[in-house]
Subunit: 350 residues, 2 copies
């Protein structure tokens, strides 16, 4: 019973593991970092010891020993509600696992502010920076970062660019998939609300929608309105759409905030959702389940993406010196169509 006694300080160190496994701390370190040159048998022994003791490397010590081996900056402004929290959770998780230190810095979505924030990040010693939307496509941020010789990962940017790594979903395919879903429900007049024009993801989503609509059989009609990714722009676009002579039976908004706006517009008009109007969003942010009825939407694994971004940078930073990692990574992660209560079959009354 006096076995797994680790009492007070939850501090299981690498030495404890080493002792139990009968190896040196260095070997344990190697195993933890998946370094090559450890015999399989030894690796196994160590892993067992790690598990038995519930060892988790001390991020602070690791970061210290690795010589600033990873200070990763994270620029954020005010992406649609709930996005950031999930993003942070993922990033934090990744940071913990890779032993990187996260520096987070807020900025407004304008070049001036971005430049300043990037400056602070660099001053803080960041050797890599993560750019969640919409900064991943900001020239100001990108160029400033390039000057600083800092590795960059853009998250959820619609298209891949050669000067930064990317973690994203296939916006085109996702939008197409959603459109197909609507078509399968029988909708033939479908409204689409575009996203902000400064993000390539908007264009990709529109393209996915249009492509699928054109391929629809029997033919379907697309009604396209502009939007800005905000609740209000969604509401207004929906009002335009719904006051048309022949309004759509379904509206596909390029993000959840706008879809929430559509919901409000529908309610205002006394339209039942999903009875009289189907509404779908994109992103699966928390507003998707905060509103009623809950939104059918496309889920981006935000946390996972953030974690991936941290990993990419962490690896890149560590690998520095050898193969000057000139080749940016383009990691595509899988999205999911989440069907909730806001969509239904097209009303039969034609």
């Amino acid at each position: 019973m006096a076995d797994s006694r680790k009492d007070r300080k939850g501090a299981v160190t690498i030495h404890d593991v080493a002792r139990r496994a009968g190896v040196s701390p260095m070997t344990v370190s190697r195993v933890m970092n998946e370094a090559p040159g450890v015999k399989d048998a030894t690796r196994k022994t160590v892993q067992d010891a790690v598990e038995a003791l519930g060892y988790a490397p001390n991020a602070a010590a690791r970061s210290l020993a690795r010589q600033g081996g990873g200070r990763i900056g994270l620029l954020y402004s005010n992406p649609s509600a709930g996005y950031l929290s999930e993003f942070l959770v993922g990033a934090l998780d990744g940071a913990q696992k890779t032993g990187a230190l996260l520096l987070i810095e807020k900025c407004d979505p304008n070049p001036e502010s971005e430049r300043a924030a990037v400056g602070r990040l660099i001053a803080g010693g960041a050797s890599g920076v993560i750019l969640p939307p919409p900064h991943g496509e900001s020239y100001a941020a990108l160029s400033e970062l390039k000057d600083g010789e800092v590795a960059v990962v853009a998250v959820a940017a619609g298209r891949f660019r050669s000067d930064a790594s990317a973690v994203r979903i296939d916006d085109f395919a996702a939008a197409a998939e959603m459109t197909r879903h609507l078509l399968e429900l029988g909708h033939r007049r479908i409204g689409f609300i575009k996203g902000a024009s400064n993000q390539t993801a908007s264009a990709e989503r529109l393209l996915g929608f249009e492509t699928e609509m054109r391929a629809a059989e029997p033919a379907a009609t697309a009604l396209i309105e502009a939007g800005e990714f905000t609740y209000r722009s969604g509401l207004e676009a929906a009002e335009r759409l719904l006051s048309a002579r022949r309004p759509p039976t379904a509206i596909f908004a390029s993000n959840d905030d706008m879809a929430a706006g559509v919901l409000t517009a529908a309610h205002r008009k006394g339209l039942d959702v999903p009875g009289a109007l189907t509404v779908v969003g994109f992103d699966d942010t928390s507003i998707a389940t905060a509103v009623w009825p809950e939104l059918t939407t496309v889920r981006q694994p935000v946390a996972e993406m953030a974690e991936a971004a941290v990993r990419i940078l962490s690896d890149d930073i560590r690998g520095r010196g050898q193969a000057r990692s000139d080749a940016p990574v383009d990691r595509l992660v899988t999205h999911t169509l989440v069907v909730r209560d806001s969509c239904g079959p097209a009303p039969t009354a034609d």
Copy 2:
């Protein structure tokens, strides 16, 4: 010319500062930590050097040297959208400054899950845990934590309890203030939507509202409905309120999500906000500005509160051993009434 040479690694260390100030690193450390026993003149010299070099302590090293100077756990479930991100940002900031390590752990808002999550936190070596709402009032979490001899800070719990420190605003006063604002706008029939009954903050807010209403001059009528802090419950409560024979001219929802629901209900009824109905919320989460019109609400400095929570724990953990800190802290932070577009004078038509 070989002067301010700090080149490549943006790494200004405590030694650099020490050299420039002509003192030992230890003295610099003391200055940075506001430790007593440093001559004013010396302190000044050091501070100048710090400024000149742009020195910022290395969090990793600090945390390491302080001996696990703090592994702080953070339990989160799914508080209303946007709350968590702001909270995390604050907590992260605090962690950075105090050199604490943040362990975050997700759970569902039920005893089972809370207990498990707390367990993981303790296993991870947390010596203090932060409980954002609604966990700050969960018996399961609190008792589990107590058994583990872990310091606890409950954030935004409505009332202070003797077994945990607290960081919160004065919900009573804030609600009273908001009510006064509505009264001053001339409203005399005011609807109030209560928050979830498992949080004492709900009761405090109600109390603040009622107290002020009773004191109103000329007399005012309060119409109170139950709510659950969710969008949907707000929408439903508002529908009950607005379909009354004599509906209120203003509705005060206990949080922003519910206020957003009220907005939808109003739109659905064709009521202009704020022309025909004034709607106000509470918390100033991101949904407050995502909807339209933007909500008048009470701002809680969430980030600041999270940072304070980290600080309290960090101090407590460091101070361990000497004065066994048996006395929990009760830190009240100041809220602000944020007036936006969703409120206006009472309609004159009586």
